[in-house]
Symmetry: C2
Subunit: 609 residues, 2 copies
């Protein structure tokens, strides 16, 4: 593979030379800055060999570097070996961000190139400011060209742009009509002082219109754009994805369909006059791509702000929450069935990381309302679990044995919710150190779960509650503690998260009532083991006292935390109470979905420690 990668980079450098480009940037993104992308957009993987979901490749005439985050350090090291590509570990001490790196390396007069459709307005403007503005004394006069897809020229076997039919979500599942949502969004646009909204974020578009697509694996979204005016909404989608159902549905909602690839020309020719003056367009710089932004900002005044859809989508309505509660009970029961099977069959039949994942995936597939997995199941044994987002492949996966720790992170898309859950299971003997790590991870997860906090807190205020038990023993997990979760949508969504330091310039989001967030501390020891225990929480409004409005979390996930890996010497009485309380709830919520044998077993593994 290394020779292949080197060859591809060489071809890319030839194209760069032809175009007079000194550095070329390939981020991992589609035209919508989606976190997960269709294969069509996986140019960074093609040119680097690194398969993680997050990473950016910078190719210079003499160097190539890959930037990725803590979840992928171990994996990237492995996958980049021999490629000549340098790994830049994001957020580690002394590691520059890409704009700083380019500022340092690039000379006046040099050219940076990228496909402006795959770089967000925010990133593009940051590069512009740092490299090209020439305003400050220390700024460089670097030229930026964003009108070129050099990767596309070389990548002969590039997959087609995906095309799958779009389907409509019934209101008893969505809880709110597209009309009502559009009304709320228009109010927010006006509040932001704008007339128009260019909506580019795929899951926001799906949420707004109560539709779903299938253009990104595990993310039920359709490649599309929306342009909302005070009177109209234009929805840009590939004609091949439009069904009769969709046509009738949008017509009845007064929404105008347009071909996906006409967004640029539409925006270029649109008359932005509104009540006799130039109307302003609201756009989220983090999600609208740089090419679209450059065009739109040349035509009308752009106001930068959060997509109003983001907050509205993040706060689940009562219908959504009711569906989610049921879906999570069933999904948890599927996981319990899997663990039951695993614990009873390990050592008796051959089970590999891949076959274990298949067994679990099939349990989910049998559930009512199953749509697809919410992400490829992470099934990782022993040291493989130290790679946070390891994906087992049939050729190279481990066979499980009755010893050591096994980690499974999985979830499904159902008509009624998106799930995400991680459990780590002792398959037999494990070391005292592993028990210590496992126990403190459970303590950490439960400590955050039981947080009671004043309204106004963001995830940044609370993150330490999950990290503290691990920081106390000098251990950190190189990822956030939690992310927002979509409703029959992306398994990662914003604006809320639980992190101790911000990952972007974006304003931190207050944890609002109805937001859903994951809680997933862990311990990752390279070459040895990986532990993660992940529950999903809902933010609830609690008591209002003389000192303010308090908030708390409810738990959606109900699966046992392996007692065989617990060592109570690392727990305070309050931790033990919390674990026993949680386990009692696990039994109560999931028993109805289990067989008699599974129930009997569950009673044992959820008995008080």
């Amino acid at each position: 593979m290394d020779g292949v990668i080197k060859g591809r980079l060489e071809s890319l450098r030839q194209e760069m030379e032809k175009e007079g480009v000194d550095y070329y940037l390939i981020p991992t993104s589609d035209f919508h800055n989606s976190e997960y992308v269709n294969d069509y957009f996986k140019a960074r993987e093609y040119f680097s060999g690194f398969t993680g979901s997050n990473g950016s490749l910078v190719v210079g005439r003499e160097m190539a570097g890959l930037w990725t985050d803590g979840r992928y350090f171990i994996q990237a090291e492995k996958e980049l070996e021999g490629s000549g590509i340098t790994l830049f570990r994001m957020q580690e001490e002394g590691v520059p961000e890409i704009p700083d790196f380019l500022k340092e390396k690039m000379q006046d007069g040099q050219t940076l190139g990228f496909d402006g459709r795959t770089v967000s307005c925010l990133e593009g403007r940051k590069l512009e400011k740092m490299l090209g503005s020439g305003q400050g004394e220390n700024d460089r006069k670097v030229k930026i060209r964003y009108d070129m897809d050099l990767a596309g020229r070389i990548w002969a076997e590039r997959p087609q742009l995906p095309s799958h039919s779009v389907w409509v979500l019934p209101e008893e599942v969505s809880g709110k009509s597209a009309q009502d949502k559009l009304k709320e969004v228009r109010e927010k646009i006006a509040q932001a002082g704008a007339e128009y909204l260019l909506l580019s974020k795929l899951d926001d578009l799906m949420w707004l219109l109560n539709i779903r697509g299938n253009d990104v694996e595990c993310n039920p979204v359709a490649l599309s754009y929306g342009f909302i005016t005070p009177e109209e909404m234009y929805f840009f989608i590939q004609p091949s994805e439009v069904t009769q159902e969709l046509e009738a549905y949008v017509a009845s909602n007064g929404i105008v369909l347009k071909p996906y690839d006409e967004i640029m020309t539409f925006l270029e020719n649109y008359n932005y006059t509104c009540d006799g003056k130039l109307g302003k367009a609201l756009l989220d710089e983090g999600n609208v791509n740089y090419a679209l932004y450059k065009m739109l900002s040349g035509k009308t005044c752009c106001i930068s702000g959060e997509n109003p859809t983001e907050q509205l989508k993040a706060r689940k309505n009562d219908t959504e929450l009711e569906h989610m509660e049921e879906v999570y009970r069933k999904d948890s029961a599927a996981l319990i069935k899997f663990i039951y099977w695993l614990k009873h069959n390990i050592g008796k039949q051959e089970i590999t990381e891949v076959s274990a994942a298949e067994y679990l995936d099939n349990l989910r597939r049998k559930l009512d309302g199953f749509v697809e997995l919410s992400f490829p199941t992470i099934s990782a044994y022993k040291e493989n679990a130290a790679m946070m987002h390891y994906e087992a492949t049939p050729g190279s996966c481990k066979t499980l044995a009755p010893e050591g720790l096994y980690l499974v992170d999985s979830g499904g898309q159902y008509m009624g919710g998106t799930t995400d859950v991680t459990r780590t299971v002792a398959l037999g003997e494990i070391s005292g150190e592993m028990k210590k790590h496992f126990t403190l991870t459970a303590v950490a997860m439960l400590q955050l779960t039981h947080a009671k906090f004043l309204y106004g807190c963001t995830g940044r205020n609370l993150d330490v509650l999950a990290r503290q038990p691990l920081w106390n023993i000098g251990i950190d997990y190189k990822c956030g503690t939690g992310h927002g979760i979509g409703y029959i949508l992306n398994v990662h969504e914003g604006p809320q998260n639980i992190r101790w330091r911000p990952v972007s310039d974006k304003k931190e989001a207050i944890l609002e009532e109805g937001m859903v967030v994951s809680n997933e501390p862990g311990v990752y020891r390279e070459g040895s083991h990986g532990i993660r225990t992940e529950n999903i929480l809902v933010v609830r409004r609690g008591e209002k006292t003389a000192d303010g409005q308090f908030m708390y979390f409810d738990t959606l996930t109900y699966a046992p935390i392996d007692r065989e890996a617990i060592d109570t010497q690392y727990m305070q009485p309050v931790d033990i109470e919390r674990l026993n309380g949680y386990h009692a709830a696990v039994y109560e919520k999931t028993a109805p979905y289990l067989t008699e044998e599974e129930r009997a077993w569950l009673a044992e593994v959820t008995a008080p420690v």
Copy 2:
């Protein structure tokens, strides 16, 4: 008093009318945005009757409003009663900030007035932007006049501008020469892309030059300005404050003395040309006043940034830390002597809030190297302690009895450090609820003390460790958990703090090695009791593991936490361990400074619970 306040406001309104001013703003500030100010600058107190250290008065033709923070809500309510002034509780839900309030109330064409020397550049520009810029669609065309001190016209009995001799700190106390500090500061100025620094923050000036003054009660600072160029430093100070010692000292350091009141004309006439082009001036918008900023920004290009002195001052050097450790042991011993005396004399002789404070203050005064108190001692019995910054006065103070809780928050300025410590003591029987509150406050304080955290954390990441035990029972304290502390300087200093939400737009400061910070959670129940337990911590660099550089806190304060107010049912085993461990250290560190009787008593009250 109410009639007096109403009369003063009426006179002010007459002056406003003469000048065509519709709203007049009186913040609590000197010309340097100092937190505590000399009596000369206490116009806000004069016009409102509110004596707290933080507050801003807005006077309109028909209304008057006072904004203050959570520490002062109870006190302000009391002091404003009958004055007709509305209390605005800052940071409470639905309470607008002053600029928002004015934006809402003021009409186009109206005028806002204030003394531009008492408003920071940051605040002034915020008001400008919100009220006067006229750039955005929704901006108002309100006129701002900042060239008037209307308060001064009415305030006949206004005190004189203070004037006290300045003294020089020997290098064995400062740990670093002014020359060396000036060199570091010039490097930082250059790094910020500037040639000049206008330094207006009083404690930063004292730190930089290793001098101290006496112009603000409890803050050993002199009213002064500094203007640093690549070659020179101009130091503006009242000629009456200059001693022969100072003259010789600045001369030997190449520093040019100028009269304090010539700063404006100096900056107006200075030639900002540097190497043939216009040099840039760095200034901290939060501390340079608006009038100076308006002048300077009209003369040369201003770069906004933190004063480079702030970080340098906050990270105490080894000499400073060694002195502080010793000073804190002695200061803690003085507090122990006080508590010993109080516990043995309560009910036997008359002790009032004022006489108790005097007793403690006198113990401090007897210590070697004592300079002055670091703030007026807060001596508060029972419900008075619910007012965070209550100050007892001889006329109206409570007499202590052998029951209930007594809170004492106090500190000293010594040649070797500034101290700040709070203890709450049970004078006899206290209720079960008080014990619960007291115990959880101790648990909270110790939980933060024992934080181990990755380098990069700010106080915002850690604040919840102190709040969580109280939030769990629906209680919050309406102030930060901790503030930075000066070295023979202001008892409050930045940039670091421990707060769960930011109080300004200022960037949060990372907790750096050598920073000193208070840790003071509490419970305040209006009309009943107030509890605060405050230790001072030093940030230390801990182990570097595979997961990063860890930091931790060392404690400087060693005074017992009243065991008679502790109820162990609210403690986990780890909390009990921490308390016992702390108490063992209290005995060890302070015993050498105590009499035999005090030592014997201390052994009892620090025995394990």
